[in-house]
Each structure stands twice: as structure tokens, then as C-alpha cells.
């Protein structure tokens, strides 16, 4: 809450100073832009749409991939990674001696504090109030900062095109029964629900099966400030390609630098004005002396 408050303050300050410095045009554009209006009721993260993927239940049938392709009208292709045409993918991980193996479902993790949305200079990517991180393609300028910022490699591009758009899972946010992939899963390895409920379900499974799950915890509860895709795994998270993010949300690492921008603006501007005055004065004095 406190964070939100300081952000809003700095927004307003920033607006003010840009308006003063640059032009009324920018000011008008900003107020006409709906993304500046407060976004209405934001649900707390435990109420967000979420999915729980239990890798120990996944049989690798890839029904979810097929359902995703068909719902999102994506063409078939033979790839071993997410792509502009593949929003989700099941990969098999095996330890070298073959004694341990695990599947992992790749897709956008729908972070509680998404790095992609914080980075996008035109707010094309943003989290809607019930959780999914979605993409307004008509805004996108194609800078690909989101691809750079995302720790999960979710945003993808079709590089064969001259004017590509970002492609990624949007949690089927406009689909009536929720995500197509979760609905089709025959093993209930993939469950759709509210983030808070799913964390409890995951914890119940951990409690019942002591020692079965890696470190007795669910990935995504805290990582990078939390994600809406929660993952249970028997093998170490890093072994199935999950990055070891600390609980500090990625956007926090940029936030301080942006929060001091107004201070830089006024500080540097003010200092320059002061120097100008004093050096002008001493110039005059020097001239008077000469005269």
C-alpha cells in the first residue's frame, strides 16, 4: 500500500514538471489517456486468477499444448521452446543418469508484479485487475524491452516478419471457462482457480506427502514478488529451468531510479540556474572593474 502511495505521488510530480518543462500537448495527451485514471477496484493477489501445475502429476501427454494452439488459433510447428506460435510447451527434464525425471510446463507466469509491464514504455503489457497479464497489440512499438526484462522468457517474437508483434499466453482471459489448457488436462496436473486457494491446495499436498516435493514449497508463492502460475516439483526448481528469483519484485530494482527522476530534474535544473546567476554576476563585476 505504501509503495502505491509513493508511486502515485511521484507520478503527479513527474506530470507537473514535464508539463512545466515541455509542452501543453504532452499534458493533454496524458490526461486523455485512460491508463492514467486510477484503475478501479484492484483485487488482492490471493483473489487473482491462477494455475497450479503439479509436475509430479503431469504425464507429458501434451493435451494442454494442443488445446492452447486450437483456442489461440496458432499454427503447428516443431519447436523445443516457446515461440511466436507456441504459448505453452511441455518439456521433459532428465538427470544425467536417468534416475530422476520431470516434466515442466512453460508459459507466461503472470507475475504479481510483472517486469514486462513495468518495462513496456507504452503500457502495451499490463496486468488486469483479476490477474492475467495481457497485451494491447495496437500500442506496441516493438522495442522488445519486455523480452529482455522477463525472467521467464515468456514474450516471444516471430522474427521472419517485418513488423512482428509480441506473442505470449494471456491466460485465456476472455475465455468463458478460464484457461483452455487447464480445462483439458486429464490428470489434474494443471488446476485453474484463485491464487490464494491454489497456494493452500499446494500446501495441503506438501503436508500430506512430506518429503515428496522439492524443499516442501511451491514455486511462485514468493519468487520475484510472486506469480500466478504456481509450480510443484519433486526435482529442484532450477533443474527444470525455474530461475532462482528472490522475493523482491523485479520492478522494485528500477523503481528507486525512476523515483529520483523529479529530484534530478529540479536539482540539476536549479543548480544550473544558480551557477548561471552567480557566474553572470561575477562576469559583470569583472567588466565593471575593467571599466
Amino acid at each position: 500500500m505504501e509503495n502505491e502511495h509513493t508511486q502515485k505521488l511521484s507520478r503527479r510530480e513527474f506530470l507537473k514538471l514535464i508539463g512545466a518543462a515541455a509542452s501543453g500537448l504532452l499534458m493533454a495527451a496524458a490526461t486523455a489517456n485512460p491508463s492514467f485514471a486510477s484503475s478501479g477496484e484492484e483485487l488482492p493477489p490471493e483473489e487473482h486468477w491462477a494455475m497450479l501445475y503439479d509436475a509430479t502429476k503431469c504425464s507429458g501427454c501434451r493435451e494442454c499444448e494442443v488445446a492452447c494452439k486450437s483456442y489461440n488459433k496458432l499454427s503447428e510447428e516443431d519447436v523445443d521452446d516457446l515461440s511466436g506460435n507456441t504459448f505453452t510447451l511441455i518439456k521433459l527434464y532428465q538427470s544425467e543418469d536417468g534416475s530422476q525425471k520431470s516434466f515442466r510446463k512453460f508459459q507466461c507466469m503472470h507475475c504479481v508484479e510483472p517486469a514486462c509491464a513495468a518495462s513496456c514504455p507504452v503500457s502495451a503489457l499490463h496486468k488486469i485487475e483479476n490477474g492475467p497479464v495481457i497485451y494491447d497489440s495496437y500500442k506496441c512499438i516493438g522495442c522488445r524491452y519486455c523480452m529482455q526484462a522477463c525472467a521467464f522468457g515468456a514474450p516471444r517474437y516471430d522474427w521472419s516478419l517485418a513488423y512482428p508483434l509480441i506473442r505470449k499466453c494471456e491466460m485465456c482471459y476472455h475465455r468463458e471457462n478460464g484457461p483452455a489448457c487447464a480445462e483439458i488436462c486429464p490428470k489434474q496436473a494443471l488446476m485453474f482457480g484463485k491464487r490464494g486457494d491454489l497456494i493452500e491446495i499446494a500446501k495441503a499436498r506438501i503436508a500430506v506427502n512430506a518429503g515428496k516435493y522439492f524443499e516442501d514449497r511451491v514455486y511462485g508463492e514468493f519468487e520475484g514478488g510472486g506469480t500466478s502460475i504456481l509450480i510443484l516439483s519433486a526435482v529442484p526448481f532450477e533443474a527444470i529451468g525455474l530461475p532462482a528469483l528472490d522475493p523482491k519484485p523485479l520492478p522494485d530494482r528500477t523503481r528507486w531510479a525512476l523515483n529520483i527522476v523529479p529530484a534530478i530534474f529540479f536539482g540539476v535544473g536549479g543548480a544550473m540556474a544558480a551557477v548561471y546567476r552567480s557566474s553572470k554576476k561575477s562576469d559583470k563585476e569583472a567588466e565593471e572593474k575593467k571599466a
Partner: protein
């Protein structure tokens, strides 16, 4: 004698111009190819390497090497150090052209270049890239205003000229402020990738390091330009100007060295510097060439008053900055191996060639000497 040497100089110049024209044309062809046929026809960009040399070189190097403009504008107009006035206009010109080149390269790099103006209407105050974009756009306009007097003089538009003179001080102050902001937030761009960037380069101080390295290379570029324009366009180098600039560069480089050292020690990463990895090699190279050698030259009494050595120190500083920014954008970033395609490099080379041509044209046709 003169009747013999003059044609030779002219011939050389025209060969140089022809080469630059050819390179610019090749760049234009490559750009056209990308706009018509797609990215993978000309570039090695991929999902794991979404930013290649167009960002790591054209943007991350293009912006700091144009920093001479704001440094000199502040020196002359705000600090009233008049001795630098003769080189102010050329520096403003390079700055302005530099930013135009950055924007040109972005038009090739962006996936939806026709929407570049979207930043004006769809804001995101949490995005460092938004800040960079806004500052670069506004600052390019500021540079145009700062640089327009010679053009207006030539056109004889005295009315507008008078008006611009009246608002010149606030405009210069705005320019310095905007430069401080975007030179540093270019570094903030990478604060959000703590896991992807090699620890030798990732630090919360990235914005500060970007700003100070931009200032050092701003001085370096002005020295470089002075020397080159002296060599190719005649005129005389004023030694006091040269030495003054080199002192500015020395101070900036020393501050940079201190920040980088303190940061490494505080993060306990000294071991990584000498662990023999490719990254450690590139890191050492960047700092040796770009910081330590030029500092050593400028501290050596017999060299620091020698214009040829000052020029070399400036050249090293610029090279070091190029290495630093390429290390940040490519070497230090996790991802599949990336090696740019020939046509991808052609775009970068073409944009710079066009910039040099435009600079030469302006030097010849605009009254850049100020009394």
C-alpha cells in the same frame, strides 16, 4: 607547391566521400530489406537475443558520444567559460546529428517503427525506456534550437534568431537536465535484469556509471572532433582548449574509476575480475583501454601537454566506452551466442557514414565559427 597539393587533397576528400556514400547506400539497402522482408533476413536477432548491435551500439554508444553537446553548452552558457566558445557550435552539431542517427537506427530496430510516436500518448512512468524515449525526443528538439542560430544566420531570419537568443538560457538548462536524466536512465534500463547480466557488470550503480562514462566520453569526443576537423578542414588547434578538455576528461575518468572500484569491492566481486573467464577478460580490456590507460597518459607530465597524446587518450576513452556498452548489451547478457549478420552491421555502419557526411556538409556550408 600549393598548385600540386591542393588537387590531391581534393581528390582524397572526394574518395572518402564516395566511400561514405557507398556505405550509407549499403546501410539503406539493408534497412529496406529489414522493412520489407523481415528481421531474420538481415539480423541475427532471436528470442534469446532480442537486443543486438542496433541497441548495444547505435543506442548505447550513440547517445553518450553525443554528450559533448550538453557539456560544452553548460560550460559556455552557464559557467561562462568563454574560451570554449569557438568549439561550441561544432559540438552542438555533432550532438544533434548523433541523436538523429540514434533515432534513425531505432527506426530500423523497432518492430513497429511507424508507431514510435506512441510514447507521446501511451505513457508508462514505471519504465526507464519511457523516460529515455521522452528525454531523447525532447532533447533532440532542444539541440535543434541550440544549434539553429548558424542556420538562421545563413537564412537571414533575424526575428526568430532574436527570439531564440532570448530563451537560450532556459533551453540550455533544460538540455543539461534532460541529458543528465537520459544518460543515466540508459543504465537504469538494465536494473531489471539482475539474473541475466553477469555480476561484473550488474550493479545498482548502473545509472551513475552510465552518466559518468557519458561525461568522460563527451569530453573525449570533443577532443577527437577538434583534432579531426583541424586535420581535414584546416584551422588551428588552440592548445589551451585542448588541455582544458583533457583535464575535464581526466576528472571524469578518475571519478569513474573510483566508482567502479568501490562498487567491485563493496560487492566482493574482485575475484571475478581475475578468474580468467571470457567475461573477466572483456571487463579488464574495457577498463584498461578506456579508463586506466587514458588516466595514465593524462597524469604523465611529459605527455599531458602534448596534443598528439591528448588525442590518443581521447581515442582510448571512446574505444573503452564502446567496449563497455557492448559488454553491457551483449557480452554480459545471458543468451544464445550472438554474432551480427553482415547486413546488420551494414545498417550501423551506414547510419554512422550518413552522420559523418552530414557533418562534413554542415561544416562546409554553415557559419560554425563564432567570434
Amino acid at each position: 607547391m600549393t598548385s600540386i597539393t591542393l588537387p590531391i587533397i581534393k581528390k582524397q576528400a572526394s574518395i572518402g566521400t564516395l566511400v561514405l556514400l557507398a556505405l550509407a547506400a549499403l546501410g539503406a539497402f539493408a534497412a529496406l530489406f529489414r522493412w520489407v522482408d523481415g528481421f531474420d533476413q538481415v539480423s541475427s536477432l532471436s528470442d534469446s537475443r532480442p537486443w543486438g548491435i542496433w541497441i548495444s551500439f547505435d543506442l548505447l554508444v550513440g547517445v553518450p558520444i553525443s554528450a559533448g553537446a550538453f557539456i560544452l553548452a553548460a560550460t559556455v552558457h552557464i559557467f561562462h567559460i568563454e574560451k570554449y566558445r569557438p568549439i561550441l557550435r561544432p559540438a552542438l552539431l555533432t550532438g544533434f546529428l548523433g541523436y538523429l542517427m540514434v533515432i534513425l537506427a531505432l527506426m530500423v530496430d523497432l518492430g513497429q517503427p511507424q508507431r514510435i510516436w506512441h510514447m507521446l500518448i501511451y505513457w508508462n512512468l514505471h519504465s526507464p525506456l519511457f523516460e529515455v524515449g521522452m528525454c531523447v525526443m525532447t532533447y533532440t528538439a532542444v539541440l535543434l534550437i541550440e544549434f539553429s542560430p548558424p542556420i538562421l544566420e545563413k537564412l537571414g531570419w533575424t526575428g526568430l534568431l532574436g527570439f531564440l537568443k532570448k530563451i537560450s538560457i532556459p533551453v540550455v538548462i533544460l538540455g543539461v537536465t534532460l541529458s543528465t536524466m537520459h544518460q543515466s536512465s540508459l543504465g537504469s534500463l538494465f536494473l531489471i535484469v539482475p539474473l541475466k547480466m553477469y555480476p561484473l557488470w550488474y550493479t545498482p550503480l548502473l545509472p551513475l556509471i552510465f552518466l559518468v562514462s557519458a561525461i568522460s566520453v563527451g569530453f573525449g569526443m570533443v577532443i577527437f572532433e577538434c583534432a579531426l576537423s583541424h586535420r581535414f578542414l584546416g584551422g588551428h588547434i588552440r592548445k589551451d582548449i585542448f588541455e582544458g578538455l583533457s583535464r575535464g576528461m581526466l576528472i571524469a575518468l578518475s571519478v569513474l574509476l573510483l566508482i567502479k572500484l568501490a562498487d567491485l569491492i563493496a560487492a566482493g566481486e574482485m575475484g571475478l575480475v581475475f578468474d580468467g573467464s571470457f567475461q573477466s577478460f572483456m571487463f579488464l580490456l574495457e577498463n584498461l583501454i578506456g579508463i586506466i590507460l587514458p588516466i595514465a597518459i593524462l597524469l604523465t607530465p611529459s605527455l599531458r601537454t602534448n596534443t598528439a597524446w591528448i588525442f590518443r587518450a581521447a581515442l582510448l576513452t571512446v574505444l573503452g566506452l564502446i567496449l563497455y556498452r557492448l559488454n553491457i548489451g551483449l557480452v554480459g547478457m545471458a543468451g544464445e551466442p550472438y554474432f551480427p549478420q553482415l547486413l546488420e552491421v551494414a545498417v550501423t555502419v551506414g547510419v554512422f557514414s550518413a552522420g559523418i557526411l552530414a557533418f562534413g556538409f554542415a561544416m562546409k556550408n554553415l557559419p560554425l565559427e563564432e567570434e
